[in-house]
């Protein structure tokens, strides 16, 4: 064993100050470039609604909206999003009322453990914004980046379809 391993590696003085507008609130934060947007939200800003599942882009649990588009917060660096508007599950409900999707998820029993739910809801809102889902088959395909380990998928799709057909997703 070499003695060098006992000394801490020199820390680079490379933190960046970035501004993110998160759920309508402008937030300045100083971060190392390697901090993912997901860790920035959860560990630095205490916004723990966004979940970390795989941390490698494979499950969709970390989905947030960035400038209105759904992205995976685990596969992006916070510094890359300097100046962007981020919406997390904490910013979905308006005033005292739940978002129609949140209501539909409750009505349709669209979750069991609830771990995938924030990502599912942000992803569905992103899908509505994209305007490309016409049929239920499209919805299934376009929601396929969000996995549910509890197997609530059928009810999730039902909840989304109800809101889609009800037209109150805007």
């Amino acid at each position: 064993m070499q003695t060098e391993t006992l000394t801490q590696p020199l820390e680079k003085t490379n933190s960046k100050i970035i501004t993110l507008k998160i759920n309508g609130v402008e937030t300045q934060i100083s971060l190392k470039p390697w901090v993912s947007l997901l860790d920035c939200l959860r560990e630095y800003l205490d916004l723990t609604g966004t979940k970390k599942g795989c941390d490698h882009g494979q499950c969709g649990a970390c989905t947030v909206l960035c400038d209105g588009k759904r992205i995976l917060s685990c596969l992006t660096l916070a510094v890359m999003k300097d100046g962007s508007e981020i919406t997390t599950i904490e910013g979905i409900a308006t005033g005292n009322g739940l978002h129609p999707l949140q209501k539909a998820f409750i009505e349709h029993d669209a979750f069991q453990c609830g771990y995938c739910t924030p990502g599912q809801i942000c992803s569905a809102i992103g899908m509505f914004n994209e305007g490309k889902a016409k049929t239920e088959a499209d919805v299934k395909e376009l929601m396929s980046g969000n996995l549910c380990r509890c197997g609530a998928n059928t009810n999730i799709i039902n909840a989304i379809m109800e809101v889609k057909n009800g037209g109150d997703h805007e």
Binding site: N14, P33, W34, H56, G57, G60, L75, G126, L142, S144
Partner: protein
């Protein structure tokens, strides 16, 4: 991930200059592949040079009838662009068959061409892998090689190139525009990616620090007869075991022009000109497609767990060429038509 610096570049020349001044830096675009590799410590960098701000119009029609895809625009913006949906539907379908909506919103066109293989052993730093560590050996050849290549392999590496978009770009005879320390050049799509040979650590023929700035599509987009079929372990959000892009130009029943490109079978998108030439002037029948499939798969070699791919690829070619006769029956996610 190791600690690194971050530089937001403002123009292609600026990005190239910055990266050329460093020992060990990388461009970062969507980050969907690079950040994953950094997280697994398969890669360490001194600095990331962010190229996202170089983004301009995602799709542009050029004077000569060709169309230019911006390298820094996202896969989603490209696939859903009206010009791509109308004039290059094969490309649109192939992009939409890849990854998930979230990833396509992040992944860029340039980054898609440079994504690395999904070979499990490449991703597992505890195993030998010539692509990750030249000279260390290949764990896949005698390992669990179900996903691996059947064409163009070498003793050094049997990995496949995982992109969907690139299979369509190959069929469309695209050209890659690059800019580097020595100026600009264009690379034919067939010459962009390379076979493993004895240097599998090189995925393509890009020179160090070269930046992809655009992808050019020739005027001919095959709007009437095309299909992209992607066969995989689950119907969505998985890499291809075998995929086929067919672009066909028919006059009555006769094939005037045809391109067949395969994904999931080799280190690069796979095309066999002799098979395409054989079909030109013939009728669009199952028998003719079957004969072409034999020519495309000729010389295939399989390993312990992937011999099924040889028959699968032949059937996929035939099926997809038939599907190209009725592109309107294609299901979302490049699933087989009903």
């Amino acid at each position: 991930m190791n600690d690194f610096n971050f530089y937001q570049s403002k123009a292609p020349v600026d990005a190239i200059q910055e990266i050329s001044s460093l020992e060990n830096a990388k461009y970062i675009a969507g980050g969907t592949n690079l950040i994953d590799l950094l997280k697994y410590n398969l890669l360490t960098v001194e600095e990331l040079v962010d190229v996202n701000h170089l983004k301009s119009e995602s799709v542009k029609e050029l004077e000569n009838g060709a169309v230019l895809l911006d390298a820094f625009s996202t896969n989603a913006d490209t696939a859903y662009h009206p010009i791509i949906e109308d004039r290059y539907p094969l490309l649109s379908k192939a992009i939409l068959a890849g990854a998930s909506a979230q990833i396509r919103n992040m992944a860029t066109n340039g980054g898609n061409l440079l994504q690395r293989t999904r070979c499990y052993y490449f991703y597992d730093a505890n195993t030998p892998c010539n692509k990750r560590e030249p000279g260390s050996g290949c764990s896949a050849i005698n390992g669990y090689n179900r996903n691996m290549a059947i064409l163009g392999t070498s003793e050094s590496c049997i990995a496949v190139f995982p992109s969907d978009m690139c299979i369509a770009l190959s069929a469309l005879n695209a050209t890659v525009n690059v800019s580097g320390p020595d100026g600009e050049r264009k690379i034919d799509f067939t010459d962009f990616h390379r076979l493993p040979g004895d240097r599998p650590h090189l995925d393509n023929n890009l020179q160090p620090n070269e930046l992809i700035t655009g992808i050019e599509l020739p005027e001919k987009g095959f709007v009437s007869n095309y299909s992209y079929l992607k066969l995989r372990d689950r119907n969505s959000y998985a890499f291809a075991l075998v995929s086929v892009a067919t672009a066909m130009d028919l006059e009555d029943d006769l094939i005037k022009d045809i391109r067949i490109a395969l994904g999931g079978v080799a280190h690069k998108p796979w095309r066999v000109k002799a098979a395409e030439d054989f079909l030109i002037g013939k009728t669009a029948t199952r028998d003719n497609f079957a004969a072409a499939a034999e020519m495309i798969i000729e010389g295939a070699t399989s390993y312990e767990f992937n011999s099924f791919k040889i028959e699968l690829a032949k059937r996929a070619i035939i099926r997809n060429c038939l599907m190209a006769l009725h592109p309107e029956t294609q299901l979302p996610g490049a699933q087989p038509s009903a």
